[in-house]
Every structure is written in C-alpha cells, then in structure tokens.
Amino acid sequence: MLPLLAILREWREHPVQGLLTLVGVAIGVAVVVAVDVSSVSAEREFQRANRALQGVATHRVSGATGGIDEQIFTLVKVRAGIRDAAPVVRGSVTAGGETLELMGVDPVSDYRLRGMRLDPGDAEPRPFPVFAAAALADRLGLAVGDTLTLAYGRRTRDFHLAGTLNADAGAALPANVLVTDIAAAQVFLGSAGRLSFVDVRLDDEDEAEALRSLLPPGVNLVDTQTRNRAQFAMTRAFRTNLTALGLLALVIGLFLIYNTVSFQVVRRRPLFGLLRALGMTGNGLFAWLLAEAAVIAAVGVTLGVALGVFLSGFLYAMVSGTIDALYFDLAGSALTLAPITLAKAALLGAGATVFAAAIPALEARRAPPRGLFTRSSQETAALHSRRWLGAAGAAIAAALLVLWLNEDSLVAAFAALFLLILGAAALAPALVWTLSRGMEAAAARMERPGVVMAVRNVRAHLSRTGVATAALSVAVAATLGVALMIGSFRTSVEDWLRGYLRADIYISTPATDAPAFTDAFIASLRHLEGVDSIALGRRLTVDDPRHGPVEIFVLDTTPEGFAGFQVKAGDREKLFERFRSGGAVLVTEPFANRFDLAPGDTFELATDRGPRGFDVAAVYTDYSTERGVMTLSPHTFERHFDPRGYRAASLYLAEGFDVERVMAAFNRSLNRDDTLYARSNRTLREASLAIFDRTFRVTGILRLLAVVVAVTGIVSALMALQLERAREFATLRALGFTPAQIGGQVLGETTLTGLAAGLLALPIGLALCVLLIRVINLRSFGWTMQTVIDPFVVGQSLALAVGAALAAGLYPAWRLRRFAVADNLRGD
C-alpha cells in the first residue's frame, strides 16, 4: 500500500491545506446548523408559550372587540352544560416600567384547561394576590410575600406575590404574565361584571354548534386553530426572513465545501499522475479519494455541528430578542437540536464533500497519467469557464421559468431565488476569465512582468479559485440585495411616515389594553392652548370566528388628517365623505393581500351585533403591521359596535405654536401622573424607524454570518493556492524579484479575483433586491415599495469583495519575507 502511504504523507507535509479543508467543511455545516437551530428553537419556544396560555382549549367564547358579560360564563357552564370552561379577565398593566399582562382566572376551572399551575408559597393569604413565573419574579426582584405595585392607566394598586407560576411539561410560560383571581382583576381593571373571554374544551362540532346557537349576537365562538393560524401569521415576516437566510447559508455552505474539498484533490494532481504512472489503478485512486472524502466529511460534519450549536446560542439570543420586541415575550432559552437539523447538516456536509471530491477524482481516474502531471493550463481554464457558463445559463433560465409559471406562489419565488443565485454564481469563473483576458493587453503594455503574471495567474488558477470566487460573489450579492431591499423598505417607510404622520403631537396610552380617554380628557385636549384641531383613534382587535383576530382602526379625523392616507387603489372622488358617513372602509395593502380584497369588494366581519359586511372603498399604503388594518370612521363603527372610546389622539397645532412648549404644557396639565405618551411628530417617526431597524437586526447578523463564511472560503482557497506556489516564488526570487515585488503580485492577483467577484455581485445583488421587493415581499405581505439603489451600499459591497480577497493574499505575501529560496527551487 505504498501509494496510499505516499498520499498520506502528502497530507502530513501540508497540514495547513488539510486544516483549511476541514475548516471549510465545518464552517459550511456550522452556518446551516446555526441558522436552523436558532429558528427551530424560536419557533418551538413560541409554540410552547402559546400552549401554556391556550392549553387544551378548543374554542374561545369572546366578544367581537372586547369583553363579554359575566352571565355568559354561567350560560356556557350551566345552560350549555360544558364541563371544561375557564373564564379570563385580562389587561395590560405596568410594573416598574415594564408592561405586563395581568390575567384574572378561576384557578379550579383554569387548571383543567391550561398548562399553568399556581404554587402558593407560605405567605399569609391576602386580597389582590398575583402569581408570577420564577423568572419574572427574579427580574422584578420579588420574593413570595413581597408587595408589587401595578398601574393600569391612572389607577394603581398594591398586589402581593402569593406564589409562583409553573408550567406543565411541554409548555413554557411567557415571561410577561401575572396571574390573579377574577374578582381582583375585575376590580383593578375596572370591568366589574365583565369577562375578557371564556376558553372552553368541546368534544365535537355538534357541541360547538349547540353552544353557538345559545350565544347572543355579538358573542362568538372562535376555533382555537383559526386563532392560532392567525397568531402564527404574525411571525411570518420574520420566518420568511429566516427561510431566505437559511437558504443563503445553505448555498454558501455548499460552495464553501465544494471549493475546499475539490481544491484539495486538484492540488495533488501531479502526485496522482505519478502514482498512476507507477502503476496505481484509476479505480484504486478513485476509491481512495472517496474514502478520504468520507473521513473529511465525518470529521468536518462533527466539528461543524458543534460549532453550529455554539454559534446558534448567539443567534438565538438575537432571534428571540426580536420576537420578544415584536410579538411575544419568550421566557425560555432552551436550544432545540432537532433530528431534522442534524440530518440536514450531515446530508449537506457529507453529500457536498463526497460530491466535491468525486468530480476531480473521476477525472483523475479517467485521465491518462501523463495528463495529470501538468497543472491546469491556459486552455483548460477557458474550457472550465465555458462549462460553468452553460450551467449558469440553464439555472437562470430555470429561475425565470419558475417565476413565470407560478404567478403568486411564495415557494416558487424562493425556488427562483435559489436558482438565480446558483446560476449567477456559476457566471463567476467566466467573468474572472474574461476580466483577466481583457486586462492582459493593457498589463503587457505596462512592461512590468509582475503585472502580466498577476493578471494571467488569475486565469490560470481558475480551476482552483473559481468556486470560491462564486461563493464570494453570492455572499456579497446576497448582502447587497438584502441591504438594498431593506434600504428601499426603509425609505418607503420613511416616506410613508412623512406623509401619514401629519399632526404635530401624538398622544397614546402605553399599553393596548389600557382604559380609554374620558370625555373630560378629550374636551381638555381640544382646549389646550395652541391646539387647532385634534383627531382621535383606537385600534381594536376583532375576534372573528372565521378570520381569526382582525385589526381595525377607528379614526375620527379631519379632511386634512385624512389627506395623509396614501391611496394605492380605489376611487379618490368624495372618498372622505364616503368614509366619514357613507359606511365605506379603507384597508391597508397587507389587509387586502391577506383577505384578497380590492376596492368595491365587501368584507364580512364579526361585530357586536353579529356578522356585517363592510364596503372597501380604497387600499392604502401602511407599513405598520404585516397583518393589515381596516380603518373606519366612528360613524361606521358605532352602527355595528358598542362604543369603546379612544386611546390615541393627534394634535394639530395652530400657526406659530411651538411643539415642545405645547407638549410641556400638556404634560404639566393633563399628564401629571405620566400615564400617557406624548410624542412629537419627529420622535414618533424616529421611534417607528427604530422599531423597523430592530426588526431587521437579525437579518443583519445573519448577513454578516454569510459574509464571514464566504470570506473564509475565499481566504482559504486563495491562501492555499498561494502557499502551493513555493517553487514558482523561489524561481522568481532567484531571478531577482524582491519579496515585496512577489508580495505585490500575490496581492494584485487576489485583489483582481475579488474585483471580479465584486463586479459580478453587483448585478446579482440588484436582481435579488428587485426579486425580494417585487416578488417575495409582495407575495408574502402585499407591500409595494419603491426600489432605492443607494450608491454607498453598492460601493460597500464592492469594497467588501475586494477587501476579502485582499485579506486572503496578506498572509502568503507576509510569509514571503522569510522564504528559503534554495529549498523551494527544487520542487514541491
């Protein structure tokens, strides 16, 4: 087995190259694992938290927009004879600056339904007890028996921590829930005699039908599944993002693995040629290379999974941080390593590794031994890039075909995205070849031998750097595409906010469940000095049995305020009049998208008087929520719903009054206890953009990860290549090149490669941006937005590509300073 010994020794002689290969496989696997683990974990936590709150309830009895009468509970329990029914009174309260959810429950009936257990401590029983999860109590710095002051609107009251809240196995407690008894909640939240909803467990549809027939108009029985589906839709934007980035990680991981592994085979061609010449069979060599790849795969995947799990800790913290900020307060931090993740990682790692080794190994098996001696020369490089070109064309054509055939499928859009990225990446080698070819004549005219060599080397080494270049292109293009998309999105949001926010001061309650403004308060607002007119608004969630939660916005505004709506579709003629008193409603783009509505359609929605149809008059731009909002006037609202009051006001100031001064006056006279937010137009806009930025922070992190992987890829490929050229460098040194000259040549070469990758990334990035905006975002959420190309971002991407490649040349160039010329003259 002497030939194998020769190959093994070769590994020992080149430990750096071996290490780079392992690192390549490991990082490729790690990225996929990290993205997967963190998104699976986030989803799992989300579901567990939901399970704790929802328990085994199958349905919820609730009013269209708010509470129901206490009598309903009696009706459910006694008249309908439902055994498992749990009444809940809930509201958003604040404690120590934190917004918490106060749930008043009946412990006995609740325990049968929900996975929450109340474990009392040994403190004296007192009125107004609360139970909190241990994590929340810790966060608030409370021990059992301590007093906790809660605020609801202007009202405050001392509760005391009566014990801890625990979750049954398989459920997780949201970290923002306080549980108390029904009476305490009713008293504190000012809803004596009323409940928020009653959760029930029904055996079958007959039972549901029977219960439904007993409920008065305005009280609905909502299927929990319908609710859940809508709940999960909340995180859809987020998941779309994660899916896209997971896909990206996969592509880059594949490229990286392919690159490092195939490089490792190609690099040793002369040795294989020699072994073949000495009598090793082609099949023997092939088998050996596959076995070698299997070992690399095993070690690489193991390292990669470990590294990925480690990385996912950080990633998950950010992912759950974003979910917390946006939707839900997740308590747990358990990482879930799903078997599917492991399978995916193993398949990706092992598959790509063996595939990457198999292609050049097949070549080595078939080629006559002498052919292997010579390294890839100019001609074969050209051939290589032509083969890639064909693949590129096929992939891009397939992408366009998929898009064209499936007009509104999101899956198709993602498939197209994937194909487009792959196809475009395959263009990289051809572009490098062309660029190098095109620059050659100019380089020759410079009469600097180093320059010609650098330019030509780029081409000659294509078979070994092509894939890394492609990977770099993909990563940079993806970064660019996503950055441009986010930039476009942000600009659209900014423009929208500027048009939409027309008032000078915005007043709102901190929590969505806070009590409404009193009439006296509204009157004082109108009479505040400097206030010209005011608009009043309230967002409500209608629990619709068919659609799940639907957000509506009741808006009492002036024609000037109304002009802030940016109408996308619908007749603008007399729109305000139709809206104010004609029963017409306006819906946002995501709303129209979610319920498939166009101006002229009628939207059916549960109301306090039973289901009613609403005439959609127009679709308008709104980026505030991807779930969509339906806006209606007080006139329309009051025809179908019980009066609910307002919780937000916007003030239009008279000419010559200073925003800050009026705001100060408001805080002094009407907001002495500081229970309301008063924000200027500018601060509200900034706050909205801050939320926007926070939403996309995870995206930023994942993008960074993608770039790190691609940069690692290009650095390892280019570095390995340069390290291999010792003999050539020795000759040049002997001929009189200084280390600096050769170093310059190395850097020039890697830079040129990076430049090609960067140049290719620009059109791909733009195409991705357009695809994300015009197809993926539109199909996911119905948002239309402008496409804004920020030249700074474009320049940054180019700099990133060139910088990464340049970095790859630094170590080899630096190593040249101390280089044993004579030792390296004699060959590898």
Partner: protein, 225 residues
C-alpha cells in the same frame, strides 16, 4: 555587450562550509571550500552526484547562506549585504541556469526571457528573440513551458540566464538534457560570455562540456580541488 555598470566579476570563496540537518542527522556538504575565479574566467565544476555542486552555486548566487567562511563576489562580502540589496545585486549581475529549469509556468517562453530584461528596466526585446533563434527555439516563443520537452525547457533556462548579459553566470548542468547538436550552441554561448569578460561557473557531469571551460575543478568530500 559590456554594460556600463558592470562590476569586477571576481568570485572568491574561502573556507566555506555548509551542512544540512535531516532525519539521519547532520550532513556536511561543503567542508572548507576555497575558490578563486578571475574576471572573464570560465570554470567547470564536476563531482559525484550529491557532492554539493548545486549547493555551491546557490551560495555564490546568494540564494542560500553559507554556515561559515567568506563569500566575496565582485569584491563584496555577501553575508554583509542585506535585503533587498542582495536581491538587486543578483537581479543585475547574476544569471542562473537552474538544474531543474524552473520556468515560470504562466509566462510564455518569450515572456520568461523578457523577465530579467524587464526587471532590469531594459526595453530591448530583440535580444530575447535573437537568443531563442540561436538556441533553435525560434518557433517556440509563444508556447507555455508545460508543452515543451525537457531539452527545450533547459535551453529556455539557459537563454533566460544570459539574456541580460550578467557579469556572473552560474550554470547548473546547462547541457545535461541535450544531445551534442543541441548542447553545442549552449556551451558556445557560455564561452562567448566569458570572452566578453563575464565570469562563468558551470557545473557539469560531461567530460566534453568540461573541456570547453578554461579550468576544471572537482568537488569531492566537501572540498574543491
């Protein structure tokens, strides 16, 4: 074609030694070598394989350092010359014919020849073509090294070492792969260089080649005599 900035191409080695450490221990390759070559002299060095001939040339070319002893080229003590001055010295004044050719794989034959010229800022490309013609390689100028035969590669290596008219030519078996017909012009070139005043040190195994030189030395047991 003597150059204005030509040095006095004297090579003087005294008591030079060099040893390598490998798996079997320390190998003394050169052990007190003395060598004096006058300007314009053509010296042939022979010796058994592995006796250190290539090592000796490397030391004169300053691409390898001696362990002990003095190496003076053109009156300058090599060990005292720092980088990059020593590289510049080699680039300008030394031409090396490598035993294993060492052509730059991504440059064509002509470009390999132009390399020393360009490095020295010499624009004259005609010299390269004339030299190729003389060595019977007139039609290979645009080929890449990997398609040349061993003998062809060797002649390109010789041409590349001579093209910038260095004051010192160090040739390691310049005709080792060549038949008599192809070898003759190579030896002729070296002799011409010596007659123009360059110092030529040639390592060879061939008696016929050694006869062309003015002086013949043998490296044996680490010593020259």
């Amino acid at each position: 074609m003597p150059q204005a900035d030509q040095i006095d191409p004297v090579v003087r080695l005294s008591d030079v030694s060099k040893a390598y450490r490998d798996a079997t221990g320390l190998r003394r390759v050169l052990d007190g070598v003395d060598l004096d070559v006058r300007a314009g002299e053509f010296v042939a060095i022979t010796g058994p394989s592995g006796s250190g001939k290539s090592t000796l040339l490397n030391i004169v070319a300053a691409i390898e350092a001696a362990d002990a002893g003095s190496v003076r080229v053109g009156g300058v003590e090599l060990s005292g010359v720092p980088e990059p001055a020593s590289t510049r010295f080699r680039r300008r004044h030394v031409g090396i014919v490598f035993q294993f050719f060492n052509l730059v794989p991504t440059l064509t034959v002509r470009e390999n020849l132009l390399l020393p010229l360009r490095l020295n800022g010499i624009a004259d490309a005609k010299r390269a073509d004339a030299l190729l013609e003389r060595l019977g390689l007139g039609d290979r100028g645009d080929s890449f090294p990997d398609v040349l035969s061993g003998g062809e590669q060797q002649r390109v290596g010789v041409a590349r070492a001579m093209v910038h008219a260095p004051a010192i030519v160090l040739a390691d078996e310049p005709s080792g792969n060549l038949d008599e017909a192809a070898g003759a012009p190579v030896l002729e070139l070296l002799r011409e260089a010596a007659s123009r005043g360059s110092t030529v040190i040639m390592v060879t195994h061939s008696v016929a080649a050694a006869d062309v030189a003015g002086r013949r030395l043998t490296l044996h047991h680490g010593r020259l005599d």
